[in-house]
Every structure is written in C-alpha cells, then in structure tokens.
Symmetry: none
Subunit: 124 residues, 2 copies
Amino acid sequence: MTRAPGSDAFHAVAEPRRRAILDFLAVAERPVGDIVTALRLAQPSVSKHLRVLREVDLVRVRRDGRRMLYRTNADAIRPMHEWSGAFERYWHQQLHRIKARAEATFRSAPGGGDQPDKPKKSSR
Amino acid sequence: MTRAPGSDAFHAVAEPRRRAILDFLAVAERPVGDIVTALRLAQPSVSKHLRVLREVDLVRVRRDGRRMLYRTNADAIRPMHEWSGAFERYWHQQLHRIKARAEATFRSAPGGGDQPDKPKKSSR
DNA sequence: TTGACATATTCCAATATGGGCATATGATCC
DNA sequence: GGATCATATGCCCATATTGGAATATGTCAA
C-alpha cells in the first residue's frame, strides 16, 4: 500500500522486459504476436506487460482486424528523461569525464570548445 | 522471482521517495538525519531506501564520526538518461505533429470538425 | 452459424516490497 | 567502563507483482 499500483511510468519502465517491448515498439507499430516472437515471451505475459504500459500511456493501441497494433508513445518517456537529465550537471564533473574531455580537447582542434568545469562547492 | 532483487537502477529509482532522496543528495552530501528531517520520513525507512540505492551505486557513503554522509552518484543515473534519450527522436516528431495539428485546427474551424487521428476507446 | 486465429483476462502460487516497531551496531564523550 | 547519539537491521504484516496454465473475448472466414 505504498503507492497507487503501477500508477507511474517509472515503475512500468523498471521491468526489463517492458523496456524491451518499448524499444521494440518504438520504431513501428506491431501486433502482439510479433512481440511474442521477437522477445520470446509467453503471450499472456506480453499482454500483461502491455496492459501495464497502456495504463501509464507508454504505449498506444489500435485494432486491426483481429490483431491489436501497439506502438510506443515516446512522449510518456519524456518526464523520465527530464528527471534524469537534471543530474547532468553533476555527472559531467566526474573525474573520468573530465579526463575524457581533456583528451578529446587535446586531440581535436583546439578552436575553442573548451570550457572550465563548474567549480561549485557546496558543503553546508 | 522475476528478476534479481532490486538489482538495477531502474527499479531503485521507481520509488518516488528514493527519487526524492536522490534529488536531495545531488547537491551536497548529507547525513541520514538530514534526510529524515527534510523529507519527513521515518529513520529506518530512510536507511532502507539508502541501502537499496547503495546496492545499485546510486549513492555513495562516507563515515564522519558517528554519522554517515551520503551523496548521490549521478553517474549511475546516466544509463537511464541514455535509455530514455534514445526515444528523443520520436518525441520530437510527436511534438511536431501535435503542433502542426494544433495550428491546422486553429486555422480552419476553431469550433468545428477536427478529426481525432486516434479514436481512443479503451477501458473495458 | 461454426471454427480458427489473435489477444486479453482470471486464478493461483511464489516472491518481493515497504511501513512500523523494536533492537542491534558503531562511535563519541564522560 | 557506561551513557548517549546516529544509523542499520530484523521481524511481522499487508500489499504488489510476476509467471504459468487455463480460459474467455473478439474477429474473421467459410
């Protein structure tokens, strides 16, 4: 009873198979059977995963005769991308990043893409 | 027994409180007590969340006397950012389409028959 | 209609998760 | 040493989640 059951995209995406499904459905819409075949999952399992994804609008469905065509709704992934992107400023001051950038700068044209990293220091 | 228990960052991050903790610890390292106070969570609960986060390297710890100073390891968030970023091209397209349709609707009949490209009928 | 096909749902068992509470560990100070 | 602060862990309970198998629903074809 910790939260509404499966009510957000973060939870839906936590499952590796659901991520695989989203990857698979990103390029083009596909019937369920294609997912079953491509990812080698049991059909009921795929249907269940698709339901979870549908409930948070990560996929959209369309009926085509007796088949259901699913596709990824990439827009629903944006909030996650934005959340994680908020940490971007912190990870580019990691040591190995600095080193990698230094090497890249060194190797490439020294025409000016160089910026000093943010010397932000916050203890409290 | 669906997957290794809490073995990846996606699962760890699915919990809203853990995201809050990561946000809080991104700026500076903090002792556990600060998290308890700031997020108004029970102390054992915080410790447990921190453990989950530590196990997937989303936070790092350092001992300072009798306190433990935690901080977010932003680098561990990058894989998620990159995964979600792979859908970027699709949501650009989505935005473009929405914008285009909005403009079209605006231009033609602002009260009248626009056609939904996706007659949504779900629920059961 | 019946039958075949595609997908969804239900039931079940196993397991994972989170909260609350009590308690254990670890470190400092006397 | 003992007392105390800061944090971690163990236990119990309620709920969530997943897979598997069986079955139900919906659609097409004849």
